[in-house]
Assembly symmetry: C2
Homo-oligomer: 662 residues x 2
C-alpha cells in the first residue's frame, strides 16, 4: 500500500511537484487514511457553531492558562506521531468535521480555518460547515498557518497548542515565526478540544499479546542489551522511546489500540541500569504476560522492568533529568512530542531522526524473515482463491468494490494466525482506480465487470508477519493502451526488483529505475515507489524506502523489507499499480568493487501478475525471464500451500496464471 506519513521530512508520498518551467503547482499524494470515516455520514457537513462557541469560551478560561489565548491550533495526530490514530485522538475531525488524514485546524476569536492538501479539497469542503474557511495548501494564494495568524491576530497575541500533539521541530518553526512577529506560542497542558468533547471515546486499552522467540527471534532482553551497547558506543545514558511500533517491537508485545496497527499506547525509558515502561497498568494483569516481562520473578536489576502509568512519563522523565549529571546524554526521536522533548534540558537532549530501535527493527532477523515468508504464502493462497472467485462471480454482475474487498478479508481471515487487515483495502474499478487514495464507499461503489481494469491494494496482519500487495487485473479484454501502460509499470517494477546495487545504497537512488520506462513514453506516477514494512507491525515503517523525494532514508541493508509499487493513473479512466513486498538480500555479481558487496531484492509476495495485461512484445528477454521465473516460484511455493489447504479453485487459477510467456 502506498505510504502517507505526517512528517513531511519523512513522507515520500505526499509530494509537491513544482514544475519550474510552467510555474504551476501539481499537488498529488498517494493514500488516504480516514481513520474514523463513516461511510454513511462522510460527506455531509458537521454543524460546528456551538462547538466553536464552547471552544472559544475555553480559550478565555483562565482555568487553563494564566492569560487567555487568541488562537488555538489543532493538529492531526497523537502524542506518538502515529500514522494511524485512535478515535480518541481524532480531535481535528471532531472540531471541524473533516476526517482526512492530513489537516490542521486553527481557531481564533473570529475565525476558524483548516489547512489541507489537494487530495482533500473536495472532501473537506463537503465535510465542513460554513463556520470554517478551507485553506487549500499548495495554491499560491493560500497563506501559511504562520502568515495567516500574523495577518489576523491583534498585537502581542498568544497562540495555544497542545504540546503533546505537536512535534518538537514543528513547535520550533511555529514559535519562531510567531515570536518574530511579536506574538507567542504557548503550550496549553489541558487539551481544549477534550474540554468541549463531551462524548470523547476512551483511550483504547486492548489486550496485550506477547510474542515468543519462535516469532521474534530475539528476546526483549537481548534487544535491551543491543540497545544499551549502541548507547554506550555513543555515550548516551538514556533513551526515550515514543513511537508505538518501536515499543511493541522492543518488548515483543502487540496490542490492538489502533486499527490496522498492532500497537498499544505506551512509552519507555531505557537507562544503562533501568527499564521503565509506561502503560495502562491494568493491561499487565495476565500472568503469562507478567512472566514474559519477568515482572514478578527476580532477575538482574538492570533487566527489571519498572512499570508506571502511561500518563506518568512526563513527571518520571523530569525526575530522571533532575537526578542525573548534566553530562548525561538523552536520545529521543526528533519527531517526538514537544512536551516530552522539552522535559529534557537542552544540554542533555540528543534528538535523532531514526532511533536505534527504528534501525534495529528495520533489519529483520532470520526468524522474522521466515515469518514474513510464511505470512506472504498464506496471503497469496487467499488471493489466489479471491481471484478464482472473482473470475467466476464477476460475469454475474454481482461483485462490487466493497464486496470484493470483503471477500478478500474473509478469505484472509481463514488463514492461520490471521489477526486483521494491515490497512483499509483499496478496491477500485475503472476510473476509481485512478484515485490513488481511493477507498470504496457505498456512494462510490462500482460493480466489477468484464470491461474495466480492477485494482486491489490490500494486506493483512498475521502473527508471523504483515503483508501488502497490489494487483491490477482485467477480467475481459484490456485495451492496447491499458496493456501498454501496465507493461511500462511492470518494467519499472522489475527494474527495481531485479536491481543489483552496492551495499550502503539508499533507496531513493533506485526510484528512477521504476520510472524509466514510463518516462520514455512521457508518463509518470506522482507517488513514491516503496516503503518499509514491519513484521506483524505497521505496514509502513522507516527508516528505509524508495522515493524520488530524498528524505533522510537510511541505506538499504540485507534483511530490510520494502515495497516495490510503481503505478500509472489515467484520470477518469483507470489505475494501474503492481506491488510486491521485497526482501533485501545479498547479491553475488561477477566482481566486488572495494569489497563493498552488493545487494538485490527477493520478492516475498508470491501472487501472479496478470499476463493478459502485458504487452509482452514490449518486454526484453531479461524481463520475460524475470516474469517466468517469478511465476514458476509462485506456482511452486503457493501451489504447495493451496494443495495442502485443499483449495482447488485457487490452485487451478494459480496454475493457469503462471503459464510461462514465450
Amino acid at each position: 500500500m502506498l505510504r502517507q506519513v505526517k512528517d513531511p521530512g519523512v513522507d515520500c508520498d505526499f509530494e509537491l511537484h513544482v514544475s519550474s518551467q510552467v510555474d504551476t503547482v501539481l499537488l498529488q499524494a498517494t493514500k488516504i487514511n480516514m481513520t474514523s470515516q463513516k461511510s454513511d455520514s462522510a460527506m455531509s457537513p458537521k454543524i460546528t457553531g456551538e462547538l466553536l462557541r464552547q471552544l472559544r469560551q475555553a480559550m478565555k478560561n483562565c482555568k487553563y492558562f494564566s492569560e487567555p489565548i487568541q488562537a488555538y491550533i489543532v493538529p492531526s495526530g497523537d502524542a506518538h506521531q502515529s500514522e494511524y490514530i485512535a478515535p480518541c485522538d481524532c480531535r481535528r475531525e471532531f472540531i471541524c468535521g473533516f476526517n482526512g488524514s492530513a489537516g490542521t485546524a486553527i481557531i481564533t476569536e473570529q475565525h476558524a480555518a483548516m489547512w489541507t492538501d489537494g487530495r482533500y479539497f473536495l472532501q473537506a469542503s463537503q465535510q465542513m460547515d460554513n463556520n470554517w474557511t478551507l485553506m487549500k495548501m499548495g495554491l499560491k494564494e493560500t497563506p501559511s498557518q504562520e502568515d495567516w495568524l500574523i495577518s489576523i491576530l491583534p498585537e502581542n497575541s498568544k497562540v495555544g497548542v497542545d504540546p503533546w500533539i505537536i512535534a518538537a521541530d514543528q513547535w520550533k518553526n511555529m514559535s519562531h515565526a510567531l515570536t518574530s512577529a511579536g506574538h507567542s506560542l504557548v503550550a496549553v497542558q489541558d487539551n481544549l478540544i477534550d474540554v468541549v468533547w463531551m462524548d470523547r471515546p476512551e483511550r483504547p486499552s486492548t489486550q496485550l499479546r506477547h510474542l515468543g522467540l519462535d516469532y521474534t527471534g530475539v528476546s526483549w532482553q537481548d534487544k535491551i542489551i543491543a540497545l544499551r551497547a549502541k548507547m554506550t558506543k555513543r555515550k548516551v545514558t538514556w533513551f526515550v522511546a515514543t513511537a508505538l511500533d518501536e515499543i511493541a517491537w522492543l518488548f515483543n508485545l502487540r496490542g490492538a489500540d489502533i486499527e490496522y496497527n498492532p500497537v498499544f499506547f505506551a512509552y519507555a525509558i531505557v537507562g544503562m541500569n533501568s527499564i521503565r515502561l509506561f502503560v495502562d497498568l491494568k493491561r499487565l494483569s495476565d500472568p503469562t504476560l507478567r512472566d514474559h516481562l519477568q515482572l514478578d520473578s527476580p532477575c538482574k536489576p538492570e533487566m527489571s522492568i519498572h512499570t508506571y502509568p502511561y500518563e506518568s512519563v512526563f513527571t518520571e522523565l523530569q525526575a530522571i533529568c533532575a537526578a542525573h549529571s548534566p553530562k548525561d546524554k538523552v536520545w529521543i526521536s526528533d519527531k517526538a512530542s514537544c512536551a516530552l522533548t522539552q522535559v529534557i534540558p537542552k544540554a542533555h537532549r540528543t534528538p535523532i531522526p531514526y532511533t536505534p530501535l527504528c534501525l534495529a527493527k528495520a533489519v529483520k532477523n532470520s526468524t522474522e524473515i521466515q515469518g514474513m515468508k510464511m505470512a506472504h504464502i498464506k496471503d497469496a493462497a487467499a488471493l489466489c482463491e479471491l481471484f478464482a472467485w472473482l473470475e467466476k462471480e464477476i460475469p454475474k454482475g454481482t461483485v462490487t468494490e466493497i464486496s470484493a474487498a470483503d471477500k478478500a478479508e474473509e478469505l484472509r481471515s481463514q488463514q492461520k494466525d490471521f489477526v486483521g487487515l494491515s490497512f483499509p483495502t483499496i478496491s477500485s474499478v475503472g476510473p476509481n482506480g485512478a484515485i490513488i487514495h481511493y477507498r470504496p464507499l457505498p456512494e462510490t461503489n462500482r460493480t466489477l465487470s468484464l470491461n474495466e481494469v480492477y485494482l486491489i491494494d490490500s494486506g493483512a496482519q498475521y502473527v508471523d508477519g504483515t503483508t501488502d500487495v497490489t494487483r491490477t487485473s482485467h477480467f475481459g479484454t484490456p485495451s492496447a493502451y491499458e496493456k501498454e501502460c501496465f507493461t511500462y509499470v511492470l518494467k519499472g517494477h522489475i527494474a527495481v526488483s531485479a536491481a543489483v546495487f552496492p551495499n550502503g545504497t539508499k533507496g531513493h537512488l533506485l526510484d528512477s529505475f521504476a520510472r524509466a520506462a514510463l518516462w520514455e513514453s512521457g508518463l509518470d506516477y506522482l507517488h513514491g515507489t516503496g516503503h518499509g514494512v514491519g513484521c506483524f507491525l505497521n505496514v509502513h515503517e522507516g527508516p528505509c524506502g524508495i522515493s524520488y523525494k530524498t528524505f533522510a532514508d537510511e541505506p538499504l541493508e540485507a534483511g530490510m523489507i520494502v515495497s516495490d509499487e510503481p503505478g500509472y493513473y489515467e484520470d477518469g479512466s483507470f489505475g494501474i499499480r503492481i506491488e510486491n513486498v521485497v526482501l533485501v538480500v545479498p547479491a553475488k555479481p561477477k566482481y566486488n568493487y572495494r569489497n563493498r558487496g552488493s545487494l538485490t531484492f527477493e520478492p516475498l509476495t508470491l501472487v501472479p501478475i496478470q499476463v493478459k495485461m502485458m504487452n509482452t512484445e514490449l518486454l526484453s528477454q531479461k524481463e520475460r525471464d524475470w516474469v517466468n521465473e517469478y511465476h514458476r516460484n509462485c506456482l511452486e511455493v503457493v501451489g504447495a500451500e493451496l494443495e495442502r489447504q485443499g483449495r482447488k479453485a485457487g490452485l487451478e487459477w494459480l496454475i493457469r496464471e503462471t503459464q510461462p510467456i514465450v
Copy 2:
C-alpha cells in the same frame, strides 16, 4: 572534468562513503586543483618555523585586535568562494606548504595543524615540515577542528579568522561550537597571513574583455531588467553579487584574474534604481569598455553603472543598509563571505542557495547554445588531430602524459577564438588513470604505449564557449577486462545521455542510470556523474548537476548544459571515463502526462568514442544504434570542420573511428 567544490553542501564529487555494513570509511574524491602547484618543488616540505614565529607574534599584536587571540584559522579560498583561486589568495599554502585544493590550517600558540581529506594525506605529509600536525579527515581518530580547538585551548580563548575568507554558514557553525565551550570566534579584519607574507603577489587585475550580443545573446541591461523583475516578484530591494562568474555573466565582461576561469575580481550591488560595480577602477579606462558599460554616455539613471573601488564594497553596503528602510530585503548568496553577509542587518538579510543570476546563467539562450556548439566543433577538430598524432607518435615511444597534454593545448590554441584551457589537463596512462584527480608531474610522467589505457580529460575556453571532454583509448590491444569495464561505463554514459525524463526532474534522479550496468557487475565509481558548464565561463557551475549525492540541485531545464561522465577506476591498473558535455533539450515522447513535457540530452561534445575499447556484444541494439548515430553526427559535423580547416590527418582518423558497429 570532474568537479570539486569547497562547499560540502554543493559538492557532488568529494564524497564520504560510509558503508553501514562494514563500518569502514571510504574516502574518495575526484579532482585536484593545485592552483599554484610547481612541479619542481611540489613534494619537498616547506620550512615554516620562522613564519609561524612571526604569525604567533601577530596573534599577540594588539594592532590587529583589542585582545590577543589564542588561535588563528586559515581556510582555503578567496572572498568570493571561488573554486579556483589566485596566487595572492593561496594563504593556507603559504603558511604550511601544502598546496592541495582543500585544507584548513589552524595555528595556536603551541600547535599548528592542518586538516585535509584522503586525497591529500600523502601529498600534505610530504609538503609540510614537522612544525605541522596533519589532521586526516575522515578517520575516526581525527578530531574535528572545533573539537581539537576546544580540547587544547585555555579557558575563554579567542579564535581569530578573516571574515572575508570564511563563508557565513561556516562562521555560524564554528562560532556556535566555540561559544558553547566558553570560547569565542572573532573576526580579524587584517588578514594575519598577509601581515607575515612579505612577497605576497598582487591581486591580479588583468585586462577586461567585453562581449557583444553576438556572443551573449542578451545585453547586460536586459539582464539587469530581468534581475529586477525577479526582485520585484519576491519583494527584494537589493541584490549583492559576490560570485565572480555571476558578475562576469551579468555585465557581459570577462577577465583572466584566475587561471582557467575567465573572471575578474569584483562585486556588484543592484538596487531597483541603481547599479554599483566594485572593481579596480584602473581596469575601466578602455574607451570601448566604457562604452559597453555606458559609463560616460548619459542614460536612464536606473541603468547607470556607478563604479567604486573593489575594496569599498563593505562601506558602501553598510551605507546602503543604513540609509534604507528596515523593511528592505537584501538578497545575498548563502555562500558569501561572513564579512559581507554580516554587514546586512539580520532583518534585511535573505540568504539564498542559488542567486537569480546563478539560475539565469545556467539556462543558456540560443546565442550561447550556438556558441557552445561552435566551441565544441572546434574543440573536437583539435582532438581528432590530437588522436591522429598520438596514433602516429606513440609507437615511437616519445609521447608522455605531459607532452600529450601539451600537444592537446597546442592544437586547441590553433582554433579560432581560443583563450586558454578551462582546467589543467588530466593526461594519464595505465595506473595513473586510476588516480581520479591525477595531473601529470615530471616525477610521475609516464610514456604512452601500445600496452596501456590512456585517459585524457581536457577542455578549453573559447570566446564563444567552454569545453570539457574525456576520452579513454587504447593504442594497442585492450584486454577483455578493460573492454568489459569500458563497455559498462559506456552503457552508463548512454543511459544518461539518452534518458527521457519529465520537466522539473532534478539531475540527481538520473545518477543511478549511469551506474546500473556497473552495479550489475559489482562495479561502481566514487564520484558524481555530471556538473553544470558555463559558456565562456567556469567549467564547473551550479545550480544543476547529476550526482548520487543529493545536494540542493535545481531541476533540469531546456537550455541547461551539464557533463555526463561516468567512469571506472581499477586501482594500480587503469582508469576509464567517458565524458561529453550535453545540452538539455525538449523531448517528444509518445504521451505527455499532465502536460508536463519531457526533456532529454543532446551531446555537444562530438569526439568519437573508441570502438576498439567496446565489447559490442555487451551492448543492446538500442545502445549500438546510439553509438552509430553519435558517430554519424561526429563525422558529419566535425568532418566538415576538419575539411574546411584542411586537417587531413584528423579527418582520416575521424572517418576511421566513426565506422558503424554492426
